[in-house]
Each structure stands twice: as structure tokens, then as C-alpha cells.
Point group: C2
Chain length 200, copies 2
DNA sequence: ACCTGAACACCGTTCAAGT
DNA sequence: ACCTGAACACCGTTCAAGT
């Protein structure tokens, strides 16, 4: 019964990353409600007060998670985007990528869109949002310059298209649509956005 | 220093409603994170264990709040709807009513759309959702029969239009749009839905 | 600079016991 | 039938003290 080899030194070394990684796993597996700093500390093999050195409170950890999410979402969309594609399939590809991200990271996405009450983190989130809607905005502005879509405030167009995609994702994650059903419907949604409900 | 007149008998009499009303006020004033059964019990002048007689756990109270919200939302939309209006203004009116409800009840709406993990409450919520998207579905189906909108799966059309409205509400409540800005933009959003992004 | 241990003020939930 | 009071097992946060 000798002492186990001490695999962890007094200083963890990378506690901040470990906590964030654990939080993301808990978020995915058990939901935001199950997130506990004390539990994360336990999983990291560290005292319950240690997280306080890296995150001033629980909300700070949640904000860090959300910022992380914006990073990943922006990367996913940028990788999915293919400027060589015509407008409709290009938008469809982006919409599908967004929906896939939403399905894979439903709880995280909720965190990302959660109302922030302190103005400081609200600004950080705004930057993250800009990164993700920015791509969509550029695609639409480009199409607009080529005369492929109507001349209207591009910011407004972007928000409307973004709202449709996000609303679809919300409905899907909320269980109102099956995942496959939603992914299969993406083409129709984009078609509807481009051509409208009215007969032509 | 005589005893205060005992305004509350041993049996509260209407504790369930009192708790729900208090919860709705807290939700509006301080957000879902600030909701505490013990605090609600204190406000109701009752022991901290008393809520357990009316709600088996905290989630049960949240579910009751959400169902309540679906009721109110359905009423709001039904009152706002004017079947005498042509399609576009009729949809605009409904969209504005939904956005107003969302702005006034942002935290409640989040609760209403929150993923439910137990299948029992998930079904209750589905009924509530059906009540609210049902109206939209009937409006669109009617327009479809009159040939005012394209022939496509009406359920799919409804979900897409609903997604756009809900996404707009989410963006607005999340602070990406100002309230007035969003309300002023409703006309454009509905116009876009009906006519599409492509030039005609 | 980073972490511990104890302390404080909260939670939700349960259950015998009271009215 | 409805509520209380005590108990249990959790939280987040703070702060002196340790390494």
C-alpha cells in the first residue's frame, strides 16, 4: 500500500485549459444545468477553490466557453464556404454547416446566444457574433454586387437570413424537427429564402 | 408590541398560483438564474418545503411556467390576427405581435424553447408549440388554397416562416438588434419572406 | 504565481411530525 | 389535504495560509 506515484504536482500547470475542456464535455453530456465548478475541480484533481484563480466566477467560465464556441463556429463556416459555388448551393452549404454545428453543440450554442447582463462580456460576445455573421454578410454583399439578389440594406438582409438559419437550428435542437429531417430540409429553406413564398 | 394580525392562515389557500406568479415576476426582473424555490417560498410567507407539495421539483415549476407562456402567447397571437387583412399585412401583424411578446417575455420564451429531457414534459411542450404554430399554419394553408403562395409542404412552410420570426426575436432579445429597430424591420422581414432575396 | 482548507451563505429535496 | 422544521448533500465565493 505504498503511496501512488504523484502524477500531479502542486501546481497543475494547465488548469485553465483542463477546466474548459471538462466544462465542454459536461455541457455536451449532461447540459448546462449540470455544470459545477466544484465538480470540474474534482475532475481536474484540484481543490474546489482552485478554479477561482482562473475564472473570477462561474459566469466568467461560461463566457470563455461561449467565446471558444464562436471561434469554432467561425472556423467551421469558413472551412465549409466555397466561393466557387453559385449563390444558392453556396448558401445551402453554409446553412447545412451551421445546422450541423448546432446539432453537435446544442447546449453550447444556447450559451453563445444567452443574454449577457454585464456590458463587458456583452462586447466580447458581439465580436464573436460579428465573426460568424460576417462571413454570411460578405457572401450576400458579393451576390448583391453581382446583381444576384435585391438591393436592400445588406446588414438587414444578413440578419434576416441568419435569423432563418438560427431559428431552424433552434427548432431542430428543441426537438420540433428530426435531425435528418432538418438537414434534408435545408435545400428547401434556402430556396424559400431566395425565391420567396409567393408564386412567380 | 402585540402580535401582528395573522394575515396568513396555516393553509395558504392558493400557494400554487402565488408561487407561479412570483416566479414569473422573478423571471422578468432578475432572470431564470435567480429563480429559487426557497426564495419563492419566503416571498409567499411559507416554509421552504411547502413548494414541494405543489411542484415535485424545480423543473416541474419551470414546466408550468412554460405551459403558461404558451397559453399567453397563443392568446396574444389569436387576438392580433385579423383574417380580413391581405396576406402580407396579416403576416406582418402576427410577426410584430410575436416580436413584442418575445421582447416582453424574453426569459420566459427561452424557457419555453428549452430542451426538455424527460419525455413526459416534452409532450406537454409539443402541445403548447402546436397551439402557437398552429395559427401560423392555418394562415399559410389558407393563403396556399387561394393560390397566394407556392404549393409546397405547408408544414415545412410554416416551420420556415416560424423559424425566421423566432430567429429575429432571438437576435433582438440577445441584443444584436435594438427593440425599435427590430420592430421597424418586421415589414422588411415579411416582405423578404414573401418575395425572396432574388430580384424579380 | 498558484493552490489548499476552512468558512459562509446559500441551494433543492426528503420526511417525520404537526394542524 | 396542506404545511413545518430539521436534516442531508450539494452549491459558489472568499480568504488566510501554505508551497
Amino acid at each position: 500500500m505504498g503511496p501512488m506515484p504523484e502524477s500531479r504536482p502542486y501546481h497543475h500547470g494547465d488548469l485553465r485549459s483542463t477546466l474548459l475542456a471538462g466544462a465542454e464535455r459536461t455541457l455536451r453530456d449532461k447540459g448546462a444545468g449540470a455544470l459545477s465548478l466544484r465538480e470540474l475541480a474534482r475532475e481536474a484533481g484540484v481543490s474546489h477553490a482552485a478554479p477561482g484563480r482562473h475564472f473570477k466566477d462561474k459566469q466568467a467560465l461560461l463566457n470563455a466557453l461561449a467565446l471558444n464556441g464562436y471561434d469554432r463556429l467561425a472556423r467551421v463556416l469558413e472551412e465549409a464556404d466555397d466561393p466557387a459555388l453559385p449563390l444558392q448551393p453556396r448558401l445551402t452549404t453554409l446553412a447545412r454547416a451551421y445546422l450541423l454545428f448546432a446539432i453537435d453543440n446544442a447546449e453550447l450554442l444556447e450559451l453563445m446566444y444567452a443574454r449577457k447582463h454585464d456590458p463587458e462580456s456583452a462586447e466580447q460576445m458581439a465580436v464573436g457574433v460579428d465573426r460568424t455573421v460576417g462571413l454570411l454578410g460578405r457572401v450576400l454583399s458579393g451576390a448583391q454586387q453581382r446583381g444576384e439578389i435585391i438591393e436592400a440594406d445588406p446588414h438587414h438582409l444578413t440578419l434576416t437570413v441568419g435569423a432563418t438559419l438560427h431559428g431552424t437550428a433552434t427548432f431542430t435542437c428543441g426537438g420540433m424537427l428530426g435531425h435528418e429531417e432538418a438537414l434534408a430540409g435545408v435545400d428547401h429553406v434556402v430556396h424559400l429564402l431566395l425565391h420567396g413564398l409567393k408564386p412567380r
